[in-house]
């Protein structure tokens, strides 16, 4: 019984240490990735978003606004 408790304590310690060690390694990896690959981040991310932004927000509002205005003009007339 107390042996089980001892084992559990050891696992608790070893476990949390391993999780931290592993995720700290991963932080290092992410930082390396950032250094090597993030170069074009701004431009690339931006260029990726722009078309969809265009499609969903710029064009559509234009169109909607124009249609809305046409509709209003029609109603007023």
């Amino acid at each position: 019984m107390s042996e089980l408790v001892h084992e559990a304590a050891v696992i608790m310690a070893a476990g949390i240490i391993t999780v931290f060690a592993f995720l700290i390694l991963l932080i290092g990896a992410v930082k390396l990735i950032g250094l090597w690959f993030a170069g074009g981040a701004g431009s690339e991310a931006a260029s990726r978003k722009r078309p969809s932004a265009n499609a969903n927000t710029q064009i559509a509002p234009n169109k909607l606004a124009a249609i809305g205005a046409a509709v209003r003009r029609y109603r007023d007339s």
């Binding site: 089980l4 559990a8 608790m12 999780v19 592993f22 991963l26 990896a29």
Partner: protein, 376 residues
């Protein structure tokens, strides 16, 4: 008359045991929680239904030849279903916020303390008469603190399949209860000023970073913790399909039809393990208590680690985001956002909390790998 006699003997009325009747009520309760209270309905509805089906006397759903028997054997005892769900979750996960602020991985690590403390607690509970958890069972119970359903089901089906029902139910129930469990703990450990801290906007993340990340995570896992690779590997496969940009049809299938099909089956199979014999036991009470303890410790550890981080950080860190480290994606991140808004109506923490939130998924998969290596 003989035919009517045969029919009568084939009704359940005279074959019902008290235990089965009670389990039916448990199944109905799960359905109520799923439908009326919207507690993780995607899982709890099939689990509750599976529970009802499995406890019908003489219907034989769980016996060899029965539907739930087949589903369980094919999908759970092989580990295939939770792994496929994990692949789908990977395909749904955006690691952008984590890559923009990698320190939040530490919050995902800290929150796993809930798991290991609970393991210790489960063993201590053996001093109470009536409890006699093995190290395997204690580990399976502890993983509830990971706040991650497929991880809990995967690990439990290997270490302690006899506890699969209560552990899965506890895991999903507490995930649904995150908005109730976490805020008091978060508020107790922080001042209003701390909760009001605004964080700097996250940097944009390049697509290449997002493609490399799952591979890097897989690489570290296979080097240092091969027992975690089934979970981490399938998660990374899903995420790579998402980010690669060249296999969108596979990624969409993994995020939709495949995960939906598997979810129905997984829920039914888990529900089928809710038998009176195994569920109506003192252990279940212990599991429910320990599960709540695990969530609470995990939340507290995450918040405290965030306060520690803040002390050494040049940029401001709101300690609330540590609570998201328990995973329970995206519920925990939303709770962080809500508690932050209460302290400061201009303080939108959602994106900042997504980093520790997805870190928590990786963290508990890693913790499951550790447990598999040590007690598996």
């Amino acid at each position: 008359m003989e035919a009517l006699q045969t029919l009568w003997e084939s009704t359940a009325l005279y074959a019902f045991t008290i235990g089965q009747a009670v389990m039916m009520l448990v199944g109905a309760l799960l359905l109520f929680l799923a439908i009326k209270k919207k507690f993780e309905p995607l899982l709890l509805l099939p689990i509750g239904f599976g529970c009802i089906l499995a406890n019908i006397p003489m219907a034989g759903f769980n016996d060899p030849g029965g539907l739930l028997y087949y589903i369980y054997e094919v999908g759970i005892s092989t580990g295939v279903f939770p792994l496929l769900i994990f692949m789908g979750v990977g395909a749904m996960t955006d690691f952008g916020p984590l890559l923009a602020n990698p320190r939040t991985l530490l919050l995902g690590a800290a929150a796993q303390f809930g798991i290991f403390a609970t393991l210790f607690g489960a063993v201590l509970l053996n001093y109470v008469p009536g409890f006699d958890f093995t190290l395997q069972q204690a580990s399976a119970i502890a993983i509830i603190g990971g706040a991650d359903g497929p991880t809990a089901i995967f690990l439990t089906s290997i270490l302690a399949p006899e506890l699969l029902g209560p552990i899965a139910v506890a895991a999903y129930s507490y995930m649904a209860l995150v908005p109730i469990i976490q805020p008091p703990i978060m508020k107790a450990l922080t001042t209003k000023e701390e909760r009001a801290i605004k964080m700097e906007q996250l940097r944009p993340v390049a697509r290449r970073e997002k493609i490399i990340f799952p591979l890097a995570a897989l690489f570290l896992t296979l080097l240092f913790l091969p027992t975690a690779t089934p979970l981490v590997g399938m998660f990374c496969l899903g995420n790579l399909m998402r980010e690669a940009g060249v296999v969108d049809r596979l990624s969409k299938t993994a995020q939709n039809e495949l995960i939906n099909i598997v979810t129905i089956f997984l829920g039914l199979a888990v529900g089928s393990k809710l038998s009176a014999h195994e569920f109506l036991a003192l252990e279940t009470l212990g599991i429910l208590v320990l599960g709540a303890v695990a969530f609470s410790i995990g939340t507290a550890a995450g918040v405290l680690m965030a306060k520690l981080l803040a002390r050494f950080s040049s940029t401001p860190i709101n300690p609330l985001i540590g609570a998201a480290g328990v995973s329970a994606v995206p519920m925990a991140a939303r709770v962080v956002n809500k508690v932050g808004l209460e302290a400061n109506p201009q303080n939108f923490l959602l994106m900042h909390a997504m980093g520790p939130n997805v870190a928590g998924v990786l963290g508990s998969a890693v913790a499951a790998g550790v447990l598999l290596a040590l007690v598996g």
